[in-house]
């Protein structure tokens, strides 16, 4: 673990006498390594380690009999400062219906997460999931099957319909007639560098006027997480992140990268394939996991 590594480093250093600023910088190489191996973005790591260094070369660390412990405490504090903050609960509209759009790269877990979110909101609400993905084969069918498993409402496009704004408008009419008060829009996976599809998303946002637009991110996403989140954020303002497949063993550094670079908070974590597998995001547990 990082703690063990730092203790080893400091033990070796203290045998040579009093700790110096240079010793601390050496120890921070291990912190940097741990963060990079945890898939935190290169530049985010650079800024974060510098913040840690400035605090870690203070007298209370240099004179401490447990410098490793002090440094680790600083690391956790700086990580929490980066990852915490920002509204971590789901927003609702002052007047129903509350509308949510889920967006993200291909295969990140949007369709499954739409239904999980609907399931979560079933208590006290009447949710409707809407299939706006006309691109992936049998996407609407997948959403229909999952929503029936979860016991939530489903609205799908007419056969061959490819106009997402039209699908959205028809869904909102349908919802108004049937008194659905929570609408969750599932969109097609897309590359953040696909101009046409990003434009489609921006237009969908204007039509739907969601209270939240949530970026669904696979927790194993690597260094590109910052570029992806920033690009989506520019086209359709994001209000939250949902990190999926946390039940795997990826370190999940993408969570820290995205929050640090865009300020968008992680709100939920997908922890499995079942419709009940959605938890409120735990930033502290995530910090420990990222450091390995």
């Amino acid at each position: 673990s990082l703690r063990e590594r730092l203790e080893g480093v400091f033990k070796g250093l203290r045998n040579r006498g009093k700790l110096t600023e240079v010793d601390i910088s050496d120890a921070l190489r291990d912190v940097r390594r741990a963060l990079l191996e945890g898939d935190v973005n290169f530049r985010v790591v650079k800024d974060l380690v510098e913040k840690i260094r400035v605090r870690a070369v203070g007298k209370d660390v240099l004179d401490s009999i447990t410098p490793a412990q002090q440094v680790i405490a600083i690391v956790y504090e700086e990580m929490s400062a980066l990852m915490g903050g920002g509204r971590q609960t789901l927003s609702f509209s002052p007047r129903p219906p509350s509308k949510y759009i889920l967006v993200g790269l291909q295969g990140s877990g949007k369709t499954t997460t739409c239904v999980k979110l609907a399931k979560k909101l079933s208590d006290g609400h009447k949710p409707l999931v809407i299939a706006c993905d006309y691109r992936r084969p049998a996407a609407a069918e997948q959403l229909r099957i999952l929503s029936s498993q979860a016991g939530v409402g489903f609205f799908g496009p007419a056969e061959g319909e490819k106009d997402v704004q039209l699908i959205a408008r028809m869904a909102m009419d349908h919802a108004a007639q049937r008194l659905f008060d929570v609408l969750i829009f599932d969109t097609a996976g897309r590359l953040d560098i696909d101009e046409g599809l990003m434009e489609e998303l921006a237009n969908l946002g204007k039509t739907v006027e969601p209270v939240e637009t949530l970026l669904v991110v696979d927790s194993m996403t690597g260094q590109e997480a910052v570029n992806v989140a920033s690009a989506f954020n520019e086209r359709i303002p994001l209000t939250g992140i949902i990190l999926t497949k946390i039940d795997g063993d990826s370190r999940g550094g993408a969570a820290l990268s995205i929050k640090a670079a865009t300020g968008v908070p992680v709100k939920f974590a997908g922890v499995g394939e079942r419709v009940v597998d959605l938890e409120v995001f735990d930033a502290e547990r995530m910090s420990q996991r990222i450091l390995g």
Binding site: E37, D218, G222, E273
Partner: protein
């Protein structure tokens, strides 16, 4: 970026950022930089150093047996098993492979061995009809091994050249799911004596270091013969393949470059290295 002459700290820092940002990983990056330092001197120019690096990386990839090699055919039918974590692109890749091999005159059959996920069989059936390829499937929730067994029988009865087995996505830390995968692989091994067996790990190019862990654990469960890197049309560089080759000896056979049936091509080390180094 590297237009200046003699190298200095800035060169090494920029290089480190490029490699790490390309998901090469910190350990592999350190090793690459050390190895480049050994092969360059203070009067090597930046562009020369980059050229040397490019050759080193291409050589390393080429040294991994099977790099850029298409699905193998010899005597007997070929079975291609597709493995990987959830959402990596297995089902789409199954369709792409079926399409490519079909166009090369091979008679292809697809086994829909993902009996678990909602809409998985429907998704594969749409692809099958688009590719003009027959799909063997059972009812939802059935035993994946039974689908594979049926498909093997169908290959023999119908004189097919190639069977592509699409499996359910699974996270490699789920022991029971990995055991299920191992069982499917053993069914193929037992019932396809004398056939050519391929087993690919399908990995998302946007993956971070966990992609390497996937290769390690999946590789320890089924006999992998290569990687397919999907979503390579993204800006992600897929740097983990350097470690996959170096440390695990796993070659990249194909890359997926889009969502259409013809968006699959053989892996090319030079193209990968150029994209990585910018």
């Amino acid at each position: 970026l590297f237009a200046r002459g003699a190298r200095d700290d800035t060169f090494w820092e920029s290089l480190e950022e490029i490699l790490i940002s390309g998901d090469v990983g910190s350990r592999q990056t350190e090793e690459i930089i050390l190895s480049l330092r050994e092969r360059t001197s203070s009067d090597t120019s930046d562009s020369e150093a980059l050229g040397t690096l490019s050759s080193i990386l291409c050589e390393r990839l080429r040294a991994v047996e099977g790099t850029g090699m298409p699905v193998r055919f010899s005597t007997g039918p070929t079975v291609v098993m597709l493995n990987g974590v959830n959402g990596s692109g297995k089902t789409t890749t199954a369709a792409k492979l079926a399409w490519i091999l079909g166009n090369e005159g091979k008679k292809v059959l697809i086994a829909a061995a993902d009996t678990f996920r909602a809409g998985a069989v429907e998704q594969l059936n749409v692809w099958g009809s688009r590719a003009g390829v027959r799909v063997i499937f059972h009812t939802h929730g059935g035993d994946p091994g039974a689908v594979v067994f049926d498909a093997i029988r169908a290959v023999e009865a119908g004189n097919f050249d190639c069977l592509i087995v699409d499996t359910a996505g699974r996270l490699h830390n789920k022991t029971n799911l990995m055991e299920e995968l191992s069982k499917i692989s053993r069914i193929i091994d037992r019932n396809c004596q004398g056939w050519t067996l391929e087993s690919f790990l399908v990995v998302d190019a946007v993956s971070g270091q966990n992609g390497l862990k996937q290769a390690e654990v999946f590789g320890g469960t089924v006999p992998l013969t290569g990687l397919i890197i999907t979503k390579y049309d993204h800006a992600a560089k897929g740097g983990i393949i350097l470690s996959a080759g170096n440390e695990l000896g796993l070659p990249v056979r194909y890359v997926g470059i889009g969502e259409n049936m013809d968006d699959l091509k053989l892996f090319e080390p030079e193209e990968f290295v150029n994209a990585l180094l910018g």
